[in-house]
Structures are given as structure tokens and as C-alpha cells.
Symmetry: C2
Subunit: 428 residues, 2 copies
């Protein structure tokens, strides 16, 4: 239906564009139409004398957000704010507007996020929203590109599971034929099984489900994780991988979507490496900055947001967490089992990724389950998997929505999800 | 932990390998160990006189499937069936075997599929199973590679939905806080909303859930789809895209995983294009082949498996289906509304992909919902999305498991899913 996208149309060419009526301005003998497609905006200029009458007839019936195709010659323009204008010889309506569009798309009248999310099929036409999802798409592309380059293989793990995978509460229950099942909180145990099963290095993008009742700006009940798990690897190997993959994602977004970052008023710094601080160093830095906390507990949201200032960095790892803070399968340090080989990645004050070396000894697993007040009997088939030549392994998980949120400078994680699911939102 | 994978070790090098004990053979003064990693098998040769005593001491305690690392020099061998052998100077156990491995991995004693699936973490170490999942990973990689090259953008759609998306039964119900929700049967309506929302061309890999009680060799209750949806496009545009993407997947698997296809005894032909037959042509061809059927019904499984012979092709499209056979949102043909712009891709006798141009007129949508005995009132918010400049659009979906199954020559779709979910299988 189109011969060109807006961004590919150049001076002197005759092109057919396809998109939506972004703006209309009729100043008598000259009529203007701004056409918007995924790639940009084009001014269509119709001068009464030189414009075919049937084009003017179509124009007279147009309203904003009508979908059209338009054919004509493109010319440089000293006046059009976009640098180019098109003189249409044909305009065809391909998608009519039957109802008033629920909110203004040009940004002249801001709309509430709830209204935008209720009408996501309209909101996506906003240039800012479009930029967010181009960046999100790039995050996943760059993630997979580097994983494949590093020799990882993609796997798919199930969303429907027979029992809790992490031993916690906060699961969504599913009626599965005659049985009860649950939605997976995490692909954790499955990716471990894949690696123990000899797949060596795996990656995945996977939806996970958390039935937590919180209502915050950083949590959703369904999100997409980007996971890696490495066999014959320890925590430092996994940290090196995460550093490589994460820096590649940042560089890819920065290099390939500069205009979109600019549209969003967002920026990405230059990073050659990601510094590594221990949990204890972070606690000490917070104390030095006048924010003392007890060693052994997780950082509060407020503390987390202060760590960058205290450490003097906006992108860093926190390693060697208190064992009791982390999931039961995190490998304790041999020389000091109060601390484990777990780590988080913090970017601009928000935890974006986390991981650990996993326990691969069945006896140690039983011990740590008990230390976390979990019943080994409930994990028997999982523990059993470690009895047949289980190898040292480590991995991590990046939250797609959180990373997109931070890259785009968004204040609410709902803006980073196409159709967010929170406690109250199930539609569309 | 390793310096090399087996496939990268060459004559004369000193390397450290990491993997599992695949075979052990002690013939007195010479002892052999076959080490298996993700990339292949290596013979370790230990001659009593020239082998360090501590290596022999470790060897004496090894059992099959112990995970080890082994360091030594690699040499060409005229005797070792693998062409190379390694003379270890060190062997370290990194993963012990505590229980008898539940079935024989070298293939000498075949194991039932149920036993293999119950112990997938062991089954994945079989060379044949490993080959299947390398090919499945390549299918997804090649799919996305071509989609990005064609200018599509990736999206993620929700798995938890507030109501049925296709109007059918067979949904899994989820307890979602105070409400009932469902697992998505298809991302259909969401990808349409994305395209109507101006995203233009989108792709995705997404889990879908079907609460159907069948128990066949071609169906699972949770599968991964690979979807595309194109804006400003009709059925022929979408068919061209599917042809391009599908041929790229076939060529990528064929070129990059030839050894794995050989391991599985599977082959992929050479295809320059995918021929297109109408439903009516397929029905006629079946009648000519002595298998008459009524025009207007779907093909039975038996008929589907006969069409390749009747048409003389093992890869083809079937287009222009009876409107009543297909989902309500399939666009009827203007000149003959009994037929619609839907299509299937059949490979080696199995439907692998299907799609259609979608209805983008709200009035026609209401009409077709009624014709399919569905209540427009239940689809009001969906229909509403088509009232704000909805554009012509078309798309399709490839079933990852079905395609993997056909590429690998598997008889049961469960073999193409890492952790399959069927009516009876929820674990692991």
C-alpha cells in the first residue's frame, strides 16, 4: 500500500505514504495535513489551484486519526518545520474514524495514564509511547544477539507449573483439568535443570507471574524476564557475562535509537565496565552518607535509591549478599557461609538484574532449605535432579520492564508494558 | 573451568575439557573414558605406565554421568573412533553421582518417553535430545533474525487476560486476586491492537494455553507461538512475509545444524518458493485421489496427511478457506464472502502455520461475530478499537513445537517441548 516510510522519502521523489492524520490546518487557499507513520511526520501541502479537486474533496471530510494513503511528489521546504513537504496527487481513506478519539494525541492536552492504558491502541500512536516500545524491542534484540554470540542456546520454560518453584507464597492458582496448578513465579528451577542436563549455556525471554498485592510504581503482576544460566560456571563467570550483555544492551539502545531517547528526554552514559561492590561496602557507604542500616537485611527502596550517591556510581553490582536475604538455592561462600555468591545490578537507583551461583550439592540444598524454613520434602524431585552429576552453575535475570523504564526515564513501570497487569488492571 | 569445548580441541594442544562421563572401559593396563560435552565426545586414554597415579585413582572411582574436568594433551588417533584422543594429566570430579541414573543414556537400552520426560534433566544429555533443542533454538533465532531484517518490531503480549480472546471455550481459569481471569489462547487481539496502534509491523514469540482435553501426538496444552502482524497489508502481503521467513528458517537449520539433523536421521529439502493452492483446489485434488470430502468443512487429520500426495508437494499454502471454518475476524473475500482471506502452511503433512487478513471494519466485525454465533456485546471493547482509524492488516502464527517436530522427524510433539504440558503432565 505504501512505497516509502516517511523517513525514507527524499526530495524530488514521487512516493506513496501510509499513516494517520496527525494534524489538519486549513488556512483558506492552502490546506495542510501532517501525516504520521511509525517513522516520522510529513507535511502534506494542498494549494487550491494546483491540487486535484478530488484530493481537496477527500481532505474536506478528514478528521484527525483517520488512516490514509497519500501519493505525491516530495520537495524540500524552507517553511515546513520538518524540512520536507509533499504535494499530494491522490489521498485515499483506508481506515475511518467512527467515534471521537478518546484523548488528544499531539500532546497538547495531556491524558491520564489510566485513560491511555485503557485505550492503548490509540496511545501507541503517541510519538513518546512509540519510542518506548521501539527501545523495549531493541533491549530484547540486543540481549539475544549477545547471548547467541557468547554461545548460549535459547530455551522455553513452562508458565504452568505443578507446584511453587521458589517456595514462596504469592502464586496465581490455575484450574488445570482435574488438578490445581500455578503460574510460574520464575523459570529458575527449569533453567537449572536445562543446564544440569548438559545444555551448558542457555538464555530465554519468559513471562513470570507474581501474585503480590502491592501497588507500586516499580511492580507488575506479569512481567517479562531475560534470563541466562551457565554451566561449569561460578558467580564471577556469571557476573562477567552479565556485564558484557548489559553493556551491549546499553550501547545498542544508545547507538540505534538516539532519536527516540531524545524524544523521551532520556540519556545513557558511557560505560566501559560495571564496578563491583560487596553488600558490606554498600552498607558502609550508606552509613558514611548518614543512612545507617542493620547488616543482614535487604535495602529499603529509599536506601536503594541512595546507594548510587553513596558509592558515587549510577551503574554497579552489589555482590556477596547475606545468605539469609537471598533465595535458598544461592551458594554460600565456603570461607564465610553467612554471605552468599549472589549479586544484583543497580542502574539509576533501581535493581534491574539479580542472580547467583546456585547450590549443586543435594546435601547442601537440603541444609539451606531448612535454614530458610522450607520443607525439603516439598522439593524432593528438584533435589533429586542434583544427584546425577550436577555441575557448578550460575545465572541471572534482567527485568525487561524495569530496564526499559530506566532507559526511557519513565516514572511508572506500567508505561514500559504494552498491556500491563496489576492488581486492578486486566483489560485490555 | 574449561579452556575448550570438545569440538574446538585440536591435535597437539593441551586443553581442559568439562563434561560428563559418557562411557568407561577398563581393559587392564589401558583405561578409556569417553567425555561428553554439549559439542561432542572425546576419548580419554590412560596408559598405566605414562598416566599420573592420581588420575588413575580418580578414574577407579568414576561412574557414568559423573561430571568432570580433564586436562591433557590432545593427539590424533588412528584407533579412536572419534579421530582424536586425549592423554589426561589431571581429572577432577565437579559433580558426583549419588543415585543410579534412571535410564541408559548411550541409547543401548531405549527408554520410554514418559520416563525420559520425568527425568528431562538426564534425558537432555542424550545426543538426540540435545540435537532437537539446538534446532528448536535455531528456529526461533532464524525467525527473529528475518523479522528484524524485514523491519518488524518485537512486542510482548499478556498471558493473563480478562476474558476470552477468541470467543471459544477451552480456557484455563486463573484466580486473579478478587476476580477470575484466564490464560490467553492466542495473542491475536493484542497483536491487532498493536498494529492498529501504529506499530506497523510486529513479531513475537509467546506462550499460549489451550484447555483442550485431547490427548494426541500433535497437541499440547501450553505451546510457544511465533507470530507476525502487518499493518497496511492484505493476505497476499502476509503470505509473502510468511514465505520469506519460513524459507529462511528452513535454510538456517539446514545450513547451521547439519550434524544434528543427521543425528536425528532428518532431512530438509531445497525450496525456492512455497506453492499456493486454494482450499477448493485441495478438496478437488483429494477427490481425484479417491478421498472425497464435503466442501466447507475443515480437513480431517487423515485428509491433511494425504494432501501432500494429492497435490504433489510437501510444503505448500492452502488459501481462501470457507469463511465459516475460520475465526470470526478473518476477512471475507469481497467478491465471494463464503470464502475468506485465511491461509495455512502445511509442511510434511502437518499444519505448521496459519493466518489471515483481519476484518478492520467495526460493522463487518459485528456481522461476522453474529455469523459465528458469538455475541457482539462480549467483544464490545475489542470492536471499539476499530472505530478510530483502524487500518487493513494481516498476520500469521507458526507453532514452534510443531515446526521443531517436523524438522527433527519426531513422532510425538512432547519430544519438541523441554517440559511439555499435557492433560496429565504438570511435572517437572
Amino acid at each position: 500500500m505504501r512505497t516509502h516510510y516517511v523517513k525514507d522519502a527524499t526530495d524530488g521523489e514521487t512516493v506513496t505514504l501510509a499513516g494517520w492524520v496527525h494534524e489538519l490546518r486549513d488556512v483558506g487557499k492552502i490546506k495542510f495535513l501532517i501525516l504520521r507513520d511509525k517513522t516520522g511526520l510529513m507535511q502534506l501541502t494542498m494549494k487550491g489551484a494546483s491540487c486535484p479537486p478530488d484530493v481537496l474533496a477527500v481532505y474536506s471530510k478528514l478528521v484527525k486519526e483517520t488512516a490514509i494513503t497519500a501519493t505525491g511528489i516530495v520537495k524540500k521546504s524552507g517553511i515546513a518545520s520538518l524540512g520536507l513537504e509533499m504535494f499530494p496527487t491522490a489521498i485515499q481513506v483506508v481506515g475511518e474514524v467512527f467515534k471521537q478519539v478518546p484523548f488528544e494525541l499531539t500532546g497538547k492536552v495531556p491524558a491520564d495514564l489510566d485513560v491511555r492504558l485503557d485505550n492503548r491502541f490509540v496511545d501507541l500512536r503517541r510519538i513518546e509511547t512509540s519510542a518506548v516500545f521501539k527501545i523495549r524491542s531493541e533491549v530484547q534484540r540486543a540481549f539475544r544477539e549477545k547471548c547467541v554470540e557468547l554461545g548460549c542456546q535459547e530455551i522455553n520454560t513452562p508458565s504452568i507449573v505443578g507446584s511453587s518453584t521458589e517456595g514462596g507464597a504469592d502464586l496465581f492458582k490455575v484450574k488445570y483439568f482435574e488438578k490445581d496448578a500455578f503460574l510460574a513465579q520464575s523459570p529458575q528451577l527449569y533453567k537449572q535443570l536445562a543446564v544440569i542436563g548438559g545444555m551448558d549455556k542457555v538464555f530465554m525471554t519468559v513471562p513470570v507471574f507474581r501474585a503480590e498485592k502491592h501497588n507500586t510504581l516499580q511492580h507488575l503482576n506479569e512481567v517479562t524476564q531475560m534470563d541466562v544460566e551457565l554451566g561449569f560456571a561460578d558467580d564471577n563467570d556469571a557476573l562477567d557475562y552479565l556485564e558484557t550483555v548489559f553493556l551491549h544492551i546499553l550501547a545498542s539502545v544508545k547507538n540505534n535509537w538516539a532519536a527516540e531517547l531524545k524524544t523521551l528526554g532520556a540519556g545513557i552514559g558511557e560505560y566501559d565496565e560495571i564496578p563491583r561492590y560487596t553488600y558490606t561496602q554498600a552498607v558502609d557507604a550508606l552509613a558514611n552518607a548518614g543512612m545507617p542500616m542493620e547488616w543482614g537485611s535487604d535495602f529499603t527502596k529509599e536506601a536503594e535509591s541512595k546507594i548510587p550517591e553513596a558509592l558515587g556510581a549510577d551503574l554497579f553490582f552489589i555482590t556477596r549478599w547475606p545468605t539469609q536475604c537471598r533465595a535458598f538455592y544461592s551458594m554460600p561462600l565456603e570461607e564465610n557461609p553467612a554471605v552468599c555468591k549472589a549479586y544484583d545490578l543497580v542502574y539509576k537507583g533501581l535493581e534491574i538484574a539479580s542472580g547467583a551461583q546456585r547450590i549443586h550439592h543435594p546435601d547442601l540444598l537440603v541444609k539451606q532449605l531448612k535454614a530458610h524454613d522450607l520443607k525439603p520434602a516439598n522439593f524432593e524431585s528438584y533435589i533429586d535432579a542434583f544427584r546425577y552429576g550436577a555441575i557448578p552453575h550460575a545465572g541471572w535475570s534482567i527485568g525487561s520492564e524495569r530496564l526499559t523504564m530506566q532507559l526511557c526515564g519513565l516514572h511508572n513501570i506500567r508505561e514500559a508494558s504494552l498491556f500491563p497487569r496489576d492488581r486492578h488492571r486486566l483489560h485490555p
